[in-house]
Symmetry: C2
Subunit: 212 residues, 2 copies
Amino acid sequence: MKKDTNETTEDHILNVAQEVFLKKGLDGTRMQEIADKAGINKSLLHYYYRTKQKLFKKVFKVAFKHFFPTIKANITSEKSLFEKIEAFVETYYNLLQKNPYIPAFVIHELNRNSANVAEIFKSIFQENNLELDLMFDELNKQIQVEVDSGKIIPIDAKQLIVNILSLCIFPFVAKPIIKGILLENDESKYKTFIEERKKVVSQFIISAISIR
Amino acid sequence: MKKDTNETTEDHILNVAQEVFLKKGLDGTRMQEIADKAGINKSLLHYYYRTKQKLFKKVFKVAFKHFFPTIKANITSEKSLFEKIEAFVETYYNLLQKNPYIPAFVIHELNRNSANVAEIFKSIFQENNLELDLMFDELNKQIQVEVDSGKIIPIDAKQLIVNILSLCIFPFVAKPIIKGILLENDESKYKTFIEERKKVVSQFIISAISIR
DNA sequence: AAGTAATTTAACCATATGGTCAAATTTACA
DNA sequence: TGTAAATTTGACCATATGGTTAAATTACTT
């Protein structure tokens, strides 16, 4: 990646590091590669970020920053459940189209080193004033109201949440499989496929839970 | 892992290697660790499997062996679409409960090195006489018939397949997130949660696509 | 029991890797 | 302009890592 003129070296390193870490993970990333891609000396990485771990942590935080607040905004809005689902799927797909490597990256690092990543998560929550428990309680109540009033089928809120997340996130982590096996390895077909899912998925979910 | 008495050293190494590779991935795995866990000298790894790459390839193949034939058996059976979906979800969840690390492993390696893994996939297909194209065509037809006869809502077969796979696989790759954020980090709660999904998911899918 | 082949080990090797350090260069600013 | 601080670099280090090799040990065959 080329450094644009009004970008500090420190930020430039972070951007390049993000690019490499996201694609190759903590283990697969070489400090030398980051240095080369950033067009700088390896010592400079350590000058700004001390160790690989610290650089990684920073990258992780920055990359993940936008995700939770976006979710929060959606869950805490005043919309109806169906509107929320539609909005959530739409926003989430947009976010993931812009950051397609994040999910596989997070999942891998989380499976590799839960403790380390969990700690990073926690600090993101704190810094962004996010109280997940409260958010889920809120959503939970809203779902329960709809269930009780006979508008949607009885479904455990957590199962529903996991269903929604599955349908949104999996197509990105499984991109090589979907593209390779289902879509003749054609990038533009994959893009179209994802684009279509914005409608398909929310329809699918709403159709699954609504009582007609 | 301890070697049981009637297991050859070669197989023992493979089992231990699988355990380590699945958890840590190609990059994260150290040959020394495999040797230590197998209770043997590192040279012996190379004696039997030459290089890390070759050992990895073998592990990958063995670990993945059971998946595709299971899918095939299901898709090519004589059941109705709904029955197939129910059977598929059930079988797949059972398979994944027994091999919970496989999905995250495959996804990571696929994102890291599509070419290498795609090649392994191809040889698995050949060795098991699996023609994915034909299988999908078959399923495609069956879905189209149900759509045309007004039994299910119009939905692109590929989108439906990805939906089904998402709902089955994602809960395993995202285990640390689900368990950590939604289930108070309680392993037994996670197990119950997964167990419940065998019913929840197929109900969800069928409810989503059926016209009532 | 002897001899041969298969298995296992210890000692090495070359290279890669994260990281350090002192010197050089650039920038800030008095 | 001079100088102190910040930035950048090249040379270097200790360790880890995948892999090799020759010797030692064990198993097999007659």
